[in-house]
Symmetry: C2
Subunit: 437 residues, 2 copies
């Protein structure tokens, strides 16, 4: 056999330093480069001041396109439709199947307004409404993912957002038909071929051509991520994503080739991606190691996989599946595969994970495309406090408070005591005006 090219770290739950080793393995920080930050600041200021003019100039410079007016950076509904007609039947069928399943799943997430009445006639509640207008960033160039268009746009549509504005840069004029076809299927309303920090600034503040949105979602490079962080507050944003991760828990009875390929399906994303296998079967960990070294050879993206597995991959031996759940909760992974006989039995012990793939047949890759749930998931341990992208990210709530005369009089007394306790006299007097004498 040739020399092993993949050398994932080996950890053992019983090691005295296990926690430290695990923390070292997981360490990751989204550091923004100071240079990137300065450039982004400059771009945002220019787009705010000079609008379309700045947007057009940056797009010409960064994307090497020859547009002479913003009109040339708009993709018409007809072009989207043409793209949908131009792809193969097989591709169209796959996109349509995925879109339908994503829609069906997300329809379960729609939240409704509610209210209730108290005995004295006071009514309290919450009004739930969609946002008016949302911006969707789609990366151009090498990494153009039509699946990402579906995953971001469909929940917004299901929420009832009236207008979805998509931006996608077209470096050197290159456009991806699958991306446009996905936009047509997902019900995107307008597409501009702009990208980078300038596209984020245009969406956040609006220009004559690009309408201002209420929230910006979608992945992007470090300029895009930095710009999103910068405009947060002016508009809503989704999470700033870190590298992709998968954690597989296996009892040793799944085909090791399957598990090896599942690990690769995240490792191939990028060199910083993290793929970890946890098992109570030491022999199985050896087998998967062997299979990984065997299977990697045929893959196009073997160099990325190699970097990812050798820098951040790991095989972790645990005494039992209970301990595996403990490891899961410490990692709070983006993707968790429970490749065991009875995944339901482990579920109550799982506190933190973006998406849980249950049973030997549920490959994580199915979730990336067509299972139905969203593939935009919390990374880098953020599933401790955040959720998959969903319809709830495109709805917002307003509290409803309607006091009856009697209710206002009763509660006015309570508010008065508390307001005076906080030395807020105008608060107190405003409440006291409604107390019946």
């Amino acid at each position: 056999m040739t020399t092993k090219i993949l050398k994932p770290a080996r950890l053992d739950y019983h090691d005295q330093n296990f926690i430290q080793q695990l923390e070292y393995l997981l360490a990751w920080e989204n550091v923004s480069d100071a240079k990137v930050y300065d450039t982004v600041k400059e771009i945002i200021t220019a787009v705010r001041r000079r609008g379309d003019w700045a947007l057009l100039n940056y797009t010409r410079r960064f994307d090497r396109v020859s547009a002479s007016s913003m009109n040339e950076l708009i993709i018409s509904k007809q072009q989207l439709h043409n793209a949908l007609e131009s792809i193969s039947d097989e591709q169209r069928h796959a996109l349509e199947t995925a879109a339908a399943r994503i829609r069906t799943y997300h329809e379960r997430q729609v939240q409704e307004s509610w209210s209730f009445k108290e005995r004295n006639g006071t009514r309290l509640g919450q009004k739930v409404q969609p946002m008016d207008r949302v911006g969707l960033y789609v990366p151009g160039g090498q990494a153009t993912y039509p699946s990402s268009v579906l995953m971001n746009a469909i929940p917004a549509r299901v929420a009832g957002v009236e207008e979805i504005i998509m931006v996608v840069p077209t470096p050197d004029g290159v456009i991806n038909d699958m991306v446009l076809a996905a936009a047509a299927l997902a019900g995107v309303h307008k597409v501009f071929t702009i990208g980078g920090a300038q596209a984020i600034a245009a969406l956040a503040y609006g220009t004559v051509t690009v309408p201002r949105v209420d929230k910006i979602v979608g992945p992007g490079n470090s300029y895009v991520a930095t710009a999103k962080r910068e405009v947060f507050g002016q508009v809503g944003i989704d999470m700033i994503a870190g590298p992709s991760e998968i954690l597989v828990v296996c009892d040793g009875l799944t085909d090791p080739d399957w598990i090896a390929m599942d690990l690769f399906s995240q490792a191939e994303h990028d060199e910083d991606a993290q793929a970890i296998l946890v098992s109570d079967n030491l022999e199985f960990l050896h087998e998967v190691d062997y299979c990984m070294n065997h299977l990697v050879q045929g893959l196009e993206r073997s160099e990325i996989i190699k970097a990812s597995i050798n820098n951040r991959g790991a095989l972790i031996h645990v005494p039992n599946l209970k301990a595996a759940c403990d490891v899961v909760n410490r990692i709070a992974p983006e993707h968790l595969e429970l490749s065991v006989a009875n995944p339901e039995a482990l579920l109550p012990d799982i506190r933190h994970a973006g998406a849980i793939f249950m049973g030997r047949h549920t490959a994580e890759a199915l979730g990336d495309y067509c299972a139905g749930p969203n593939h935009v998931l919390p990374t880098s341990g953020t599933s401790r406090f955040s959720s998959p992208l969903g319809v709830y990210d495109f709805q917002k709530r307003s509290s409803l408070i309607h006091f009856s005369d009697k209710g206002a009089s009763e509660m006015g007394k309570v508010a008065s005591v508390l307001a005076r306790g906080e030395s807020l006299t105008a608060h107190a007097r405003s409440a006291e005006f409604r107390i019946k004498k």
Copy 2:
């Protein structure tokens, strides 16, 4: 009559420049001071490196307390209980009434896990769980608000958060009994008398004494806000709040004294607070102006009110209530009072508002203390895309995907086409392994 001391801006919906004037009036940016930013960075780094030692030193320096160990910066359960016993019966009753109403309202926001089964046996769903541990920042010094403790801690408790850690600085050793009493009532688990950026850093990264939390909520000064923005990603945070605002829509038939005092109840918060009245009755706008000038004289915080009303306050004349709703939606206010005969009739036209106070008797101040809904609301137009603090802010979701053999085989084909379209071969092969031959 003496000279008018309050001079709110006067705007008219029919003015050609109305929109520009309105935008000028609303303009507000949360600019972080570069000096504050550098100090915060330094403090966070120090607390991450030196933990309790740094925390203790900063607390001694900034809060002028003489503690010689972290143990002296812990408030015991007994102290919380004692504080609750020490306040007056009237205050205790008011706090308990408020707490009970806040709890009842928020219990309606609890979200449950769900799942559904497809015909081929595939099960999809979402698991909803509380976060493990949450940090609550409570400002010390001048602005200590017991109501804020209730509003932040109770939703976390209702969500089922196991541990709520409160931090409150005690400058010069001063402790507010009402704040501690509120913490006792709200079910806070641990209290540390620390504050500023050092408290935020301790909660985000953990020290030997202060446990690391999953999310930090609660208001604070610019150091606290900057620190929260900085640790976002390591932990979750609530919104960074801008100055408080109220927008009152009135048909001219509410007592003008009531409306004047309602405007003051926000204006008294701080000099940057914004109070705006919109009415289709020009005569009424004059009356409220008169009442404001009359009422302001008796108030403790008249200087703050004067600054707020003269810099950022406004009286806006609109042709009708339909136009008033248009103004509401452009402003997207934190607090909206619909002081009209039939507020229900306007509700369908209201797109953006943090909380809606309906009818002449629903003073906004009731919502600050004891109506039930949360008083932590989106400011500065952010109600376009965000919601009141709620139980949903302390719950998080994990997608559940459990494919049957048959489902995995069918969907494997779809995923394979899409993955190959994106040149992600390992994704494709991982899915293809599950296709039945």
